[in-house]
Symmetry: C2
Subunit: 230 residues, 2 copies
Amino acid sequence: MENFAQRPEGPAGRPASIGRMPTVKRDTYTPDSLLSVAVRVFNERGYDGTSMEHLSKAAGISKSSIYHHVRGKEELLRRGISRALDGLFAVLEEVPAREGRAVERLEHVTRRTVEVLMAELPYVTLLLRVRGNTETELWAMSRRREFDQRVAELVKQAAAEGDLRSDVDARLATRLLFGMINSIAEWYRPDRVAHNGAAGGDSSASGGSNTSAEVAEAVVRTAFAGLRTS
Amino acid sequence: MENFAQRPEGPAGRPASIGRMPTVKRDTYTPDSLLSVAVRVFNERGYDGTSMEHLSKAAGISKSSIYHHVRGKEELLRRGISRALDGLFAVLEEVPAREGRAVERLEHVTRRTVEVLMAELPYVTLLLRVRGNTETELWAMSRRREFDQRVAELVKQAAAEGDLRSDVDARLATRLLFGMINSIAEWYRPDRVAHNGAAGGDSSASGGSNTSAEVAEAVVRTAFAGLRTS
DNA sequence: GTCTATATTACGATAGAC
DNA sequence: GTCTATCGTAATATAGAC
């Protein structure tokens, strides 16, 4: 069954390489530019549902050419996941995540995690969908658990300081919080153009067209203050 | 890479068949008992990461024997997903989901959706992870969108009746609500035995050992009233 | 760096015996 | 209903030319 035929895109879509001497421009793949294509296909078809043939079609080069850039399919997975993890763990090092009242630190981490998820959407999506069939996937799941536990500690502290309601268990609260955050990967598409509804109301929160700061604010508000009016 | 070796379990684990005449007991698979094994493996390895060989090892019968019960791998996927969808759509037909104030109907649907998710955990999990690589998967995604939209209408009505906060978009609120609900499939494991923490506090909300009604209540409380105190 | 050609293994599914 | 044996295809990866 061959749905989702990929349109080849060639090596053009790679990030601006200001790094390597005045070799002005080369129309070839780097491991990183190839990665962005691969991660996109992984997310469309699932990692296990993606063959090297799919990747070669999407990248517009032959299968064997891919092996010139990376050792194999699993290395593309590992690189993609690494990028996601780097962004997420960096949030925990930010000053507002380490100083102040626990509930304030928790709100900061929540907000920034949403922003990182949206900024690095394909990479974080890849991380969130890992199943554990290979060593790389098991490593990814382990690192992700580490991150979750760091946040869970914040929730526990905030509860101990009396800032979170006591009738919902801290562990359960953490899970529901991550449920909201991580689900953003299921529907947020950065390419969507903003359009206002016919009734011309407040346009700042119209579904798939929000900025990451707006979505982050909505998540924080919903998680901490709830959906009901007063 | 062959992790997660399946222990064969034989046809024993099938549901009690009180149906078919006094053929007291047959130690063989029915399409349904085979389905429960298949769905479990699908969820452990992912659908695309599961081969007929994996299924045959897990079921304790040969690959070709599986084809006696079902037409192929995709039929197992379709049957599993159907079961999930049946349970979810049934919630929308319940009386409290169709009568009364929209916000009350929404809370009912939320609570009952969580309960169905937990009661039919493997089947709903399978539904939630579908990617869209086959006709069956595309059908599943379409039906799931239908369900989501039915709930989204409830959210919109509740907002129109003034019972939901107006500073979070209805569509976004729906998505965050489903984010919380669906994420339960990522961590809830019904086999966990309840154990109280050392400090002997309230044991009714200790992480992975909750009843479905308790988890449903926590979801409703968190979603509608929020995490913060007062 | 990219290609064609190919080695080798794994996959889904079927044939036919018991 | 289950099995062994096998078919045809698609998978990952490599060899070697340009």
